[in-house]
Amino acid sequence: MHEFSLCRALLGQLERLARDQGAAQVIRVTLRVGPLSGAEPKLLRDAFPLASEGSLAEGAELVIETVPVLVYCPACQTDSEASPNDLRCRRCGAADTQLRGGDELLLVSADLRTEPAIQT
């Protein structure tokens, strides 16, 4: 279960960003996670509230976009969708494909709440 470590790294990034932007709170975090990233969305969702406790991102909504595994086949010059444990070209069966997507583990965006400029 390295998802907790990943969440802690994520929190480090979020806290730095929030500080740089002068934000008081992180209210939403959007991640993009591919099947070949080595991270499991469900475990990230479980770990995030624990890892974010007491941080600026405590209580933030975690949105996880999942993406398919995509490979490019140099032989037939096509992109095709693949399964995580079979990256062969769907069209010609060639095994020397190049991964075009599916290993992403990205912080896509963060929604920050800044202190209201003027309080009334």
Binding site: M1, H2, S5, L6, A9, L10, G12, Q13, L17, Q21, A23, I27, R28, L31, L36, S37, G38, A39, V71, P84, N85, D86, L87, R88, A95, D96, T97, Q98, L99, L105, L106, L107, V108, S109, A110, D111, L112, R113, T114, E115, P116, A117, I118, Q119, T120
Partner: protein, 250 residues
């Protein structure tokens, strides 16, 4: 009151009002969650390169024979190369003791509950090693086919052991790990006659389905079979580290 920022303006007036500042903003980022680990790993890789040290990250499930392979490797290569070993385990320094018994410096990194090594752990451990006096550093990762795959340690190559007792379908079951392999060693092949259901060719076929070009070497650390091929690969790797540095400084 405005719902966005708490100012006192309401409705269409908000759009005109200089006092109104929406208090939330979406910051587009698209940055890797491995950013921090990656930065440390890159530092380590540079550090290794400066000293022409080859760094090998050994990964496998628990009990695949990483330490036994290291013992056999050091018995042969310790006279040829100056080696050191970083041992990652949740608990105990038993593996480090086995390596030290070979007269090779070994540092134990106990990870507690962490199921993998990360770059910072390696960086901290390296402070205790003098890279100027080393040729090869072996990093024996925590026995686990899942988590270690996600953490760059600044190594030059990932070597993954697959022991014949585990089954030949492991590359299909752990694609993230096996995709990271620069070399796959099929270990404990002396046990093949007793198993009957492990087919090295099938294991390699599953690996090729991952679009992996990694060489596959069957070996037995106990009986010695296949070890020469592995030593040859290590020598080539070490040579290429030296050549790379020479090319950079030329």
């Amino acid at each position: 009151m405005c719902q966005d920022c708490g100012c006192s303006l309401n409705g269409p007036a908000q759009r005109l009002a200089p006092l109104h500042r929406p208090e939330t903003q979406t910051l587009p980022l698209l940055q890797s969650l491995h950013l921090q680990n990656q930065a440390v790993a890159d530092d380590i890789r540079n550090h290794f390169a400066q000293h022409q040290v080859l760094a090998i990250n050994l990964m496998s499930s628990p009990g695949a024979g990483k330490t036994t392979l290291l013992e056999a490797t050091l018995a042969q290569l310790a006279s040829e190369f100056r080696c050191a070993v970083l041992e990652g385990d949740l608990e105990t320094d038993l593996d480090a003791q086995r390596i030290r018994a070979q007269g090779v410096p070994a540092l134990q990194i106990t990870t507690g509950n962490a199921c993998h090594l990360d770059a910072q752990m390696i960086k901290d451990a390296l402070e205790q090693l003098d890279l100027a006096n080393l040729d090869i550093v072996f990093i024996e990762n925590v026995g686990n086919l899942v988590c270690p795959a996600s953490f760059d340690l600044g190594q030059h190559a990932n070597v993954i052991l697959l022991s014949v007792t585990e089954g030949d379908d492991k590359p299909a079951k752990y694609p993230v790990m096996f995709r990271a392999a620069d070399l796959v060693l099929i270990s404990k092949i002396d046990l093949l006659p007793y198993l009957g259901d492990f087919d090295p060719a099938r294991a390699e076929a599953f690996l090729r389905r991952l679009a992996s070009q990694a060489p596959v070497m069957p070996l037995s650390a106990r009986q010695g079979e296949g070890l020469e091929t592995w030593f040859g690969w290590l020598r080539d790797q070490r040579r290429s580290v030296q050549t790379t540095l020479a090319a950079q400084s030329a």
